[in-house]
């Protein structure tokens, strides 16, 4: 399998990345590139560290080895100050939304603008209202985060993520647990941000149909490796059994349905003597 050749058209280049957490290897020598202005999806089963990849790109954690280049700058080796400068160019949509609970919706979205610009308050208000209109929640500007439903909170968080018009947005499971309306809003927004503004998006998700509908390029990660990549059409026609199992959602295949365990029969038979010992039978 050949990986895409590194070009200037890639905003992010990840090279030979290895990351372990304690004894557990999360990524073993993976390389991938995120093209500028496109929607790139990272898919894979739950628990393989997709969120970890976003945190690595954001510089919140450091890899054991390998490079993460954002327009040529290696994120893990940046100084604290340079890292904070670099983060101004990106934003991240957290799975939980991560809205500030001590501020209302309006102030949450105004927060990054107030922190990083010296714009007068009347202009900030206009920007915030535009962002809220884009996610369809202009009427919710005075609500507190605890008055929002899960889907609304995610949309407010999205409005906050795009408040400063970043070059790069990292989406952590944007579709998980969304009702169809919020899902539609978010899918449309991710696509139109990329088409209209040339934003680079990285979407981490395991929702196959939604990802297939919006992504320009897809990487599928499982068992510490990239098991397949390509455009949605290429992924659909991929003959590798691992990719087929994931895309078609089959329980049986190379990725086992069962978490590693001793033999089922043995474990059931072993139960009765222990219950005898406890004096319950």
């Amino acid at each position: 399998m050949t990986l895409p050749v590194a070009t200037l058209d890639n905003l992010i280049e990840i090279k030979n990345l290895t990351f372990t957490r304690g004894e557990r290897v999360i990524y073993n020598d993976i390389s991938l590139s995120i093209p500028t202005g496109k929607v790139t999806a990272i898919m894979g089963p739950s628990g393989i560290g997709k969120t970890t990849l976003l945190r690595l790109i954001g510089g919140q954690i450091k890899p054991d080895s390998g490079k993460i280049l954002l327009s040529g700058k290696n994120i893990p080796s940046l100084s604290r100050q340079n890292l904070y400068e670099t983060r101004k160019r990106m934003s991240m949509l957290f799975q939980s939304g991560a809205l500030f609970t001590d501020m209302n919706v309006f102030d949450n979205i105004a927060f990054p603008i107030r922190e990083h610009s010296k714009l007068p308050e009347n202009i900030i208000e206009k920007i915030v209202l535009m962002k809220l209109e884009a996610v369809g929640l202009r009427g919710a500007r005075d609500l507190q985060p605890n008055e929002l439903s899960g889907g609304m909170a995610r949309r407010v968080a999205l409005a906050r993520a795009i408040a400063l018009d970043p070059e790069l947005i990292l989406y952590d499971e944007p579709f998980a647990g969304q009702d169809p309306i919020s899902m539609g809003v978010i899918v449309r927004l991710i696509r139109s941000l990329s088409d209209a503004l040339g934003l680079t998006s990285v979407v981490v998700s395991h929702d196959v149909p939604e990802v297939m509908s919006i992504a320009d390029y897809i990487y599928i990660i499982a068992e510490q490796k990239i098991i397949g990549h390509g455009t949605p059409d290429q992924i659909r026609q991929d003959q590798s059994p691992l990719v087929k199992q994931f895309v078609q959602g089959k329980a049986d295949g190379p990725v086992p349905f069962h978490y590693q365990a001793p033999s089922y029969q043995n474990e059931l038979i072993k139960l009765s003597p222990t219950m005898h010992e406890r004096g319950k039978i």
């Binding site: 919140q60 991560a98 609970t101």
Partner: protein, 258 residues
């Protein structure tokens, strides 16, 4: 072998915890101040940490002063020494009870709230999301809370002592009939500014530093789950209370032992 292992593990955990606590404090405090953003944040925290603790401090101070006067009077009157009630109450409050009891109350009221608030911000990824917005949570969230606690507690301790003396006056003079002139003039004569008042202030400054530091560190370092937050909150109150009492002994020995 295993008691030795346990000792080793606990010692290592203690030392690495201390190291992390120092790093958190230093990276929160050592930076160029930005008054335009810093002062509103500090005022907000002074309100929630300091002003909101006023009621418990005033009520406790009042009752402790009243009890001191009642107990002191019944003992002193046996020796015909009830004229010494004023200095007895004032010295107990200024030297010991003011700084110590207000630090203990502060740990329970404000310290636990700080830990729980910061811990919950961590668990709900608010701290992470600040980092990703290129806003340092140590400066934005931790530093104003630390300064607010550090400034509030010495003031609260002073208020505690003052209300305590007024409470003692209420019981001793208005109820039990000690002469008001004697109460105040003997107190004024016996209380020394450097030895008593200043030492009491130094104590409460030390306690303020320790209690607030523990509270913010425990919140920032907690495991981001509901269990982790509850453990962190408990250990804030337990550890800061014990440390306040131990430090009080050491400081008293240094200040007053001959």
């Amino acid at each position: 072998m295993w008691p030795l292992q346990l000792l080793g593990r606990n010692t290592l955990a203690l030392i690495s915890g201390l190291g992390r606590a120092v790093i958190v404090l230093l990276s929160a405090l050592l930076h160029k101040p930005n008054p335009r953003k810093g002062i509103p944040l500090l005022l907000q925290q002074l309100y929630s940490v300091g002003v909101m603790s006023l009621i418990i401090i005033i009520v406790s101070g009042g009752f402790i002063g009243m009890v001191l006067a009642l107990q002191g009077y019944t003992i002193l009157v046996g020796y015909g020494a009830e004229a010494s009630l004023g200095p007895m109450v004032a010295l107990s409050l200024l030297r010991e009870l003011g700084p110590v009891v207000s630090a203990l109350l502060f740990a329970g009221r404000a310290g636990s709230a700080l830990t729980a608030e910061i811990g919950l911000m961590k668990a709900t990824e608010q701290l992470s999301s600040l980092e990703m917005m290129a806003v340092d949570p140590l400066r934005r969230v931790i530093a104003p809370r630390f300064w607010a606690g550090f400034i509030s507690l010495p003031l609260l301790a002073a208020i505690f002592s003052m209300v305590g003396i007024l409470g003692a006056h209420l019981v001793g003079v208005d109820w039990l009939g000690v002469d008001a002139g004697t109460f105040w003039s003997v107190m004024q004569d016996q209380v020394d500014f450097n030895k008593d008042i200043l030492n009491g202030i130094i104590k409460s400054v030390v306690f303020a530093f320790v209690v607030t530091w523990i509270a913010i560190y425990k919140g920032y370092d907690c495991e981001p789950t509901s269990e982790g937050i509850s453990r962190a909150t408990t250990s804030t109150v337990v550890q800061s209370s014990l440390l306040v009492l131990a430090l009080d002994f050491i400081l008293t020995a240094l200040m007053f032992a001959r």
